[in-house]
Symmetry: C2
Subunit: 210 residues, 2 copies
């Protein structure tokens, strides 16, 4: 498999964690967002949405959208299972994952920041100090009430929720968002970070880290 | 079951479609977003994220995040199945659903519009004419390449993709976004709108429509 990825892309980071947890080998194809490589025609051929990541299977089939990719991997390579089978537990894990995947991360990604700057004159400082922290804090405040570190977000097994929380905490730290109000989120992050799969998937451990 | 809903909330609309397709009865609890009812303490007790919808099961269990709720309903009430079992088809359906659920809708909801106005002085006109159309067009451009009306987005059975496309097309029309470039999206919308479940779930058919 090939993963079109960028070391700092949160959504790529999620898929890297899932691949590492399942012990799957893959080739990294770096798409450096800093020079807008993801907006070039060559990448549009790979991913019609021109976002990261894309997972290319061995037969050339390409999958997009990080949570859809992880759900695919979880069905085809079920060990360890990241999305619980029990419908109610699954709904809770998915709700936490979707708060991050829908209501925090998409508001703070590179493309949105660019449009906020060009359309509303948002300064880099306002984006870093006001906009990004606002959505992280609002989302984490909800998640803090939905998880119970044991040590992972939903008990002693890693789930999709942990796979989403760690990259979002990484992003929060990058923007120096204070996280003291979210001790459960921090506890889950610390527990997951101790796992070798999360370490292998970390931005700094990637071949395109710079 | 009770659905905390607002007639114009896109995410509520998705869950209403799924409930109607499965023939499930429920009570609507209206949470009028126009007077900020969803930000009141009473609703915070219901949904820690203070967003719509929330599905309350008969035993009082509450589920949040529309796609997580629909996945729960699909597991417990599998007829008709909205999320295909085949992992690859499922990944494609989920990718389309997540483009809407992550990269279009969350950028355009009421809460985000409010923050854009207060933080960056975005005018209602700029939000309606520039910001909202930008994300709808960008997302629909990708989806247009990912679906093949047959007559629904993924063939002759309704899937989660259709459940997400219809409310997003409704929103696009509300903001008068030209959709001529997206004939497949429009064809899927027309096919789905002809189904009684989509009609029953429409904003105008709700008890709190105004």
């Amino acid at each position: 498999m090939k993963l079109y990825s960028f070391f700092r892309s949160s959504a790529s980071y999620r898929v890297r964690i899932a691949l590492a947890l399942k012990g799957l080998n893959y080739e990294t194809v770096s798409v450096p967002m800093r020079d807008q490589s993801h907006r070039k025609d060559s990448y549009r051929q790979v991913n019609p949405q021109m976002r990261l990541p894309t997972l290319e299977l061995d037969d050339g089939t390409r999958l997009i959208q990080s949570l859809a990719i992880i759900e695919y991997l979880d069905a085809v390579y079920p060990e360890p299972r990241l999305i619980p089978a029990d419908p109610l537990t699954r709904a809770r894990v998915q709700a936490v994952s979707q708060i991050i995947g829908s209501d925090i991360h998409p508001l703070n990604n590179t493309g949105v920041r660019g449009v906020l700057a060009s359309m509303f004159g948002a300064s880099e400082q306002a984006l870093d100090k006001d906009w990004t922290p606002h959505w992280i804090r609002e989302g984490f405040a909800a998640i803090e009430q939905m998880i119970a570190p044991g040590p992972y977000a939903f008990g002693d097994r890693i789930t999709l929720a942990d796979v989403c929380i760690v990259p979002q905490v990484y992003n929060a730290r990058r923007y120096k968002v204070p996280l003291d109000e979210f001790p459960r989120v921090l506890a889950v992050d610390a527990a997951a970070q101790a796992h070798p799969a999360f370490q292998a998937a970390a931005p700094e451990a990637q071949p395109d880290a710079a």
